[in-house]
Assembly symmetry: C2
Homo-oligomer: 161 residues x 2
């Protein structure tokens, strides 16, 4: 059986694909019986779709692959803690295991602001593991935003001259 | 300006389309400056997609129509109180107004189990109005489940003979 780190590295590859097209670098994969059956990276700006988050895309792709809306034997790996919508998609698709890298203190709903994956009133709960390749998952985001700020400063400086 | 009832009747038409194909009858529309720009009905079983809820489909269609993930001047009408995933999609798409018909005491996340649309820690909140054509929105669901139970009894009775 492969390690969490092995799979998180594949999710990180997805995050890098997002960065290359100017999207906030977040990546996700769905693993079914050891096999990567779906991948997704953030496409919100490219697609102009509020639902085009990495894990949301991966969940949809996994359902298409399995041919069922129930992803009962799957594990979702995602580089950043899922938001409210993606936590909801995990609950609705009955993914039993979620592993994420970096925490999202501002919007994360799997432990930070709240934990929708361990909400006793829902008819589904998922186990949550955090901190897998946390530094790498966090660094790719920090690097992206640092570069974005530098670009904005350069643009402002050109405009002022 | 049209009334909430006018628009909820259109969402109910969508719910009826779901019932006709054997789906739990839930319907939704998105209204932009008075105009219906997107419609959706529950397609979860037909599509075998966990994300194929009525309001989720309507939000995606509305974004495609407007060409932006931000649905800032829109109102979402939905016959049943949104679940955790759809409440999340409302937050992520920045829909400012939500009107729903029947409450969902088991899974509703816009007032029943919790209210994710008025969560001060998120960077977006939506106003929520409830009870518009509540009886009609509730009756179509009750009728659907009554018929389903009757079918199951008939099936069981045939099997036992």
């Amino acid at each position: 059986m492969r390690s969490h780190e092995f799979y998180m590295n594949i999710a990180l590859e997805e995050a890098k694909k997002a960065a290359l097209i100017g999207e906030v670098p977040i990546g996700a994969i769905v693993v079914h019986k050891g096999e990567v059956i779906a991948r997704g990276h953030n496409m919100r700006e490219s697609d102009q779709l509020p639902t085009a988050h990495a894990e949301h895309i991966a969940i949809t792709e996994a359902s298409k692959y399995i041919g069922s809306w129930r992803l009962e034997d799957c594990t979702l790996y995602v580089t950043l803690e899922p938001c409210v919508m993606c936590a909801g998609a995990i609950v609705m698709s009955r993914v039993p295991h979620v592993v994420y890298g970096a925490k999202d203190p501002k919007g994360g709903c799997c432990g930070s602001l709240m934990n929708l994956l361990e909400e006793s009133r829902f008819n589904h709960r998922a186990t949550v593991e955090t901190g897998v390749l946390e530094a790498a998952c966090s660094d790719i985001l920090k690097g992206f935003f640092r570069e974005l700020r530098a670009k904005k400063r350069k643009h402002k400086s050109i405009q002022e001259h």
